[in-house]
């Protein structure tokens, strides 16, 4: 994918070992992050996040549906990611499918909690309109427009921003007639409900290159990685999900070390992201 000469590889690895990377960052510094909300007016909520040359869009669409019989008190949330061929010619046709699926599953694992819905970033019970009858189904779509490494962190940030931007129409339920009938609902187009997004975690990916690990790797740095661990951490510092990629094995003590570093890094990231989202919302309201 990335064509690098032996010299360039040594330069990247040497830079990481000396805590001064090719773009002048330290090992645990993120690239500047830019957030723009409301980019897709047709969706209920949307956001575009840029992290260096990585550029992703997330949109949230809500549809009224029926909760599953097993979990009548919970709405459904689905996350899909698509890699646009504009990001890299290798995503052409079905070429991006593998990466798209890998990213979707990793995001679902990190943001939606387990099968029971416990530990999810958004409370699925808040999506229910009438228990067992009507609920909101949330479809979260991510689109990778430009890719320069660290897609997972960028997508998670975009989804967090899009959900903060989301307004679900208020629903009035008509007085119920019989218990076995579908109740009639009235969707308001003036009143919107906002989600509580404070519990949505951010994802911090630590990429191991040589003997050290770095955050927010560019695609050149990712091509030199031995393995990577993506850890999702919420505001309280709880670990919400974890994914390890890459073939090379890691020492268990290193993983624990990585988790504590990720926890530390996530505090700064959440604060930065929250202030960026607030700024984006403010500038959207102005225009």
């Amino acid at each position: 994918m990335v064509g690098l000469s032996v010299g360039e590889k040594h330069f990247i690895q040497g830079g990481i070992a000396q805590d001064l990377r090719s773009d002048g960052r330290k090992r645990l510094t993120y690239r500047p992050i830019y957030v723009e909300t409301g980019v897709i007016p047709q969706a209920h909520g949307s956001a575009r996040v840029r992290l260096g040359a990585t550029d992703v869009i997330a949109s949230v669409k809500a549809e009224l549906g029926k909760p599953s019989a097993l979990q009548p008190d919970k709405g459904k949330i689905a996350i899909y990611v698509d890699c646009s061929p504009t990001a890299a010619p290798m995503f052409e046709g079905r070429g991006g499918e593998e990466l798209s699926t890998e990213l979707s599953v990793a995001l679902q694992r990190c943001l939606l909690g387990g099968k029971s819905g416990a530990g999810a970033g958004i409370d699925p019970t808040s999506l229910v309109v009438v228990e067992g009858k009507v609920c909101w189904d949330l479809y979260i779509d991510g689109l990778v427009i430009s890719s320069d490494g660290n897609l997972l962190d960028a997508l998670a940030a975009a989804i967090k921003a899009a959900l903060s931007n989301t307004g679900i129409p208020k629903v009035d339920v008509a007085v119920e007639t019989r218990s076995d009938e579908q109740p009639e609902v009235n969707i308001s187009d003036e009143e919107f409900l906002q989600f509580d997004t404070s519990g949505i975690p951010v994802i911090v990916t630590l990429t191991k290159v040589g003997r050290h690990y770095i955050v927010d790797a560019t695609s050149e740095e990712e091509s030199q990685m031995s393995s990577a661990v993506s850890i999702s951490v919420n505001r309280k510092g709880h670990i919400c999900g974890l994914t390890k990629r890459g073939g090379v094995g890691l020492d268990p003590s290193i993983i624990l070390d990585m988790i504590s570093v990720a926890k530390h890094v996530s505090e700064q990231l959440i604060n930065k992201l929250d202030s960026e989202i607030a700024a984006a919302e403010a500038s959207e309201e102005e225009s």
């Binding site: 980019v39 897709i40 007016p41 047709q42 969706a43 949307s46 040359a53 550029d55 869009i57 949109s59 669409k61 549809e63 899909y80 698509d82 646009s84 061929p85 504009t86 990001a87 890299a88 010619p89 052409e92 046709g93 079905r94 479809y139 779509d141 689109l143 427009i145 430009s146 890719s147 320069d148």
Partner: protein, 241 residues
């Protein structure tokens, strides 16, 4: 349904011969050789160009000219209702082909033998006229990539509803079932490279509708030229000339 009010205003408040607001931005995908965003009202597309580069699939190599490829894709969230179509359905295959043929007509392919140029267009929001918007975006992206072209290609659509010719149809007008004429022209050479119409129209009306679409193309060409000029000025400024 009434698409043009008695006062002569359309559903979105435009006059019949008025175009939606245009906006273009060059260089939005950092890793591509050339890229652009093009917006016509609510329709928004991104185009990225990779190349000219080595041919990936040797059997497709052409010895006396460049191979031009194009892929059109729509984002899941681009339409009003969420779309769950697989990639490569017939509609997108057809649009890919149309865009490829239109762009191939203006690229000087004989200057780059044994190489490949990839054009990827991604629809972020669809509100009618995606075909035209994609072609306009692709032109800008090709120009940004510095690929030699005969002329820029611009495209615009026009329709005929309530016995009025309408320029630049939006989604509601497009799905009204009336004729929809999409024209692509080379404005400097004054040649038509793309012409598509569905539904039927008397010949004399077709002439006025097509004339209207060509006027639209010319207006877009002026805008695109302005954007390119502005972009070149920026580049010049950055080089410190």
């Amino acid at each position: 349904m009434e698409y043009v009010s008695p006062e002569g205003l359309r559903l979105d408040g435009r006059r019949p011969m008025e175009m939606r607001q245009l906006r273009a931005e060059i260089g939005t995908v950092a890793k591509a050789n050339g890229s652009a965003v093009f917006e016509m009202g609510n329709t928004k597309v991104i185009a990225a160009v990779y190349g000219p580069r080595e041919v990936q699939n040797r059997s497709q190599q052409i010895n006396d000219q460049a191979l031009v490829r194009c892929e059109y894709s729509m984002a899941n969230f681009s339409t009003g209702d969420r779309m769950r179509k697989p990639k490569g359905d017939r509609r997108s295959t057809e649009i890919s082909l149309v865009i490829r043929q239109t762009m191939e007509a203006c690229i000087l392919t004989h200057l780059m033998p044994r190489s490949q140029i990839d054009i990827f267009v991604q629809v972020l929001q669809a509100d009618g006229g995606t075909r035209s918007a994609c072609i306009n975006a692709a032109t800008l992206a090709l120009a940004d990539a510095g690929i030699p072209m005969r002329d820029i290609v611009t495209s615009c659509s026009a329709g005929y509803l309530n016995s009025t010719p309408l320029l630049d149809l939006n989604y509601i007008e497009d799905s009204a079932g009336g004729p929809d004429v999409t024209v692509g022209i080379l404005p400097k050479l004054d040649k038509v490279t793309l012409l598509q119409m569905d539904a039927k129209l008397p010949v004399d009306i077709f002439e006025t509708v097509m004339g209207l679409a060509i006027e639209g193309c010319k207006a877009i060409a002026n805008y695109i030229r302005e954007v390119l000029l502005e972009n070149t000025k920026q580049l010049e400024y950055r080089r410190g000339l």
